[in-house]
Amino acid sequence: MAYSDKVIDHYSNPRNVGTLDKSKKNVGTGLVGAPECGDVMRLQIEVDETTNTITDAKFKTFGCGSAIASSSLATEWLKGKTIDEALSIDNMEIVEELALPPVKIHCSVLAEDAIKSAISDYRVKNGLPALEAEKAHH
């Protein structure tokens, strides 16, 4: 299968690979996927609590090139966004940006799930209710 130039770029030079201190109250962690499905993404955000803005984002992904690229792109997009803005990121935007083929759309879905899961974790840590899981598109 031919990968798009953008996928190859993110795969070869992934942005924001790493780990944030999950014991910190202003760090939210999302871990989605499963090893036997061939994709596991962990996405973390660090939030400035006064402005509700994401100041840092890191990821680690076990998966194919498209999964790595989707999560790498997600971290790029998250930085500087408010929580509300981050929640509005749709997987189809990732599909478009990376020119993912239909068989790889699930990678973008996983990235969107990882974003929401990280935000939800941050909310729970700060005394807010967890996000309603949106599973409609699965």
Partner: protein, 404 residues
């Protein structure tokens, strides 16, 4: 200068040896006759070339030249052998025994036999990829007409105990067939000493051309017969009709001759390179060889790199032409059924690479491959949340993974 990508997928196919091409050339040009034309020199020259090829093949596998039936390749040979025996010996029984790690050409042919009303036993293998002789013995029935077990596995290189298997089949009055596609030309195969009654093999896995192979069919002790699966002019003693592929057959013959003469030297050089590649890659933590290392073809190694995903790994080793344990067809990512049969988990099967070396592989290429794979695995692990958890001592099996 190293030319990239480097070809290490010689279990899929091998390049044509220049010596083989040279032998074939006249038969693609001036000597174009039909080997079945008995009335003129054009036909005689073609027939002579075919007969010479039979002798070259016979010398490699230690049979009589008359016992070679030319086909289009190992898949056709497997079909002809299994279906042909099933039909020919239907009076005697309808039971066939094979193994779960066989090539699809055998497994799907056996499925076809089941649809026709035959009964097939698929023997499991142990973690080394070997069948159990006790289980084979226990599976034998008075209705068993054929035991078909491959010589060396295409994915792992595991070599089955062929002589012992043949002896058990014969003890119970069944024929023994082997798909020896990966073994012939690579290791000594002796149909008499091994007790083989039918054997499928192909030219393009031993530096010959694609589109030509053969089925060895024993002519005495016992005399084995198969019903034709292709009707027509009655070529190949009536077992396989169709005008003979003379240039291809000449190529198969020459490939066999070169393999016979060079086998010892080739094996020594290739297995030394394979062992070095394997030793170096095993210095990566959590990497495992799949299949038996003791009973193995000299040119293959299949290694799983835990906590690295297969497709991502393939992308990381883009300068190598290798195969992975993921048969990644369209949307579904199916792990190799051969590796699964060895007891590997899906993720370990997915994260495997198969390296197949050839007589044209160089030390320089192996050096490059070692560095390239190490770099890719290390990079992907640094990016892998599973690797991080493993390093922190977290038991991944105890995690409740989010449904997806």
């Amino acid at each position: 200068m190293l030319k990239l990508p480097i070809y290490l997928d010689n279990n899929a196919t091998t390049p044509l040896d220049p010596r083989v091409l040279e032998a074939m050339m006249p038969y693609l040009t001036e000597v174009f006759g039909n080997a079945a034309s008995r009335n003129h020199p054009f036909g005689w020259a073609a027939e002579e070339a075919v007969d010479y090829a039979r002798e070259q093949i016979a010398q490699l596998i230690k049979c009589d030249p008359k016992e070679i039936i030319f086909t289009s390749g190992a898949t056709e040979s497997d079909n002809l052998g299994i279906k042909g025996v099933y039909e020919m010996y239907s009076q005697r029984g309808n039971h066939i025994i094979t193994a779960t790690t066989e090539h699809k050409a055998v497994l799907d042919t056996c499925k076809h036999i089941e649809k026709l009303g035959g009964r097939v036993t698929y023997l499991p293998v142990n973690e080394q990829g070997l069948i159990s002789l006790e289980e084979l013995e226990a599976a034998m029935t008075p209705q068993t007409i054929l035991v078909t077990i491959m010589y060396g596995n295409n994915e792992t290189g595991t070599i089955q105990p062929i002589r012992e298997i043949a002896a058990i089949a014969h003890k119970h009055g069944a024929l023994f067939m082997t798909d020896a596609t990966q073994a012939v030309g690579k290791i000594p195969v002796d149909v008499i000493a091994d007790g083989i009654d039918l054997m499928a093999f192909s030219a393009h896995k031993m530096y010959g051309p694609k589109g030509v192979g053969a089925l060895y069919v024993r002519r005495k002790n016992p005399r084995v017969k198969v019903t034709a699966q292709m009707d027509g002019g009655g070529h190949e003693r009536g077992m396989r009709s169709g005008t003979l592929n003379v240039p291809g057959i000449v190529g198969l013959g020459k490939a066999c001759e070169v393999c016979r003469l060079d086998m010892e030297a080739d094996t020594q050089r290739i297995s030394a390179m394979r062992d070095r590649l394997e030793r170096e890659l095993l210095t990566l933590e959590e990497s495992y060889v799949n299949g038996s290392r003791e009973h193995r073809l000299p040119h293959v190694t299949n290694i799983s790199f835990k906590y690295v995903e297969g497709e991502g790994l393939m992308m990381g080793v883009k300068d190598l032409a290798v195969s992975s344990g993921s048969a990644c067809t369209s949307a579904s990512l199916e792990p190799s059924y051969v590796l699964k049969a060895l007891g590997l988990s899906d993720d370990l099967a997915h994260s495997s690479l198969r390296f197949g070396l050839s007589r044209f592989t160089t030390d320089e290429q192996i050096d490059f491959a070692i560095g390239h794979v190490k770099e890719a695995v290390t990079k992907l692990r640094e990016m892998s949340p599973l690797w991080e958890m493993f390093k922190e001592g977290i038991d991944l099996d105890k995690i409740e993974w989010a449904e997806h």
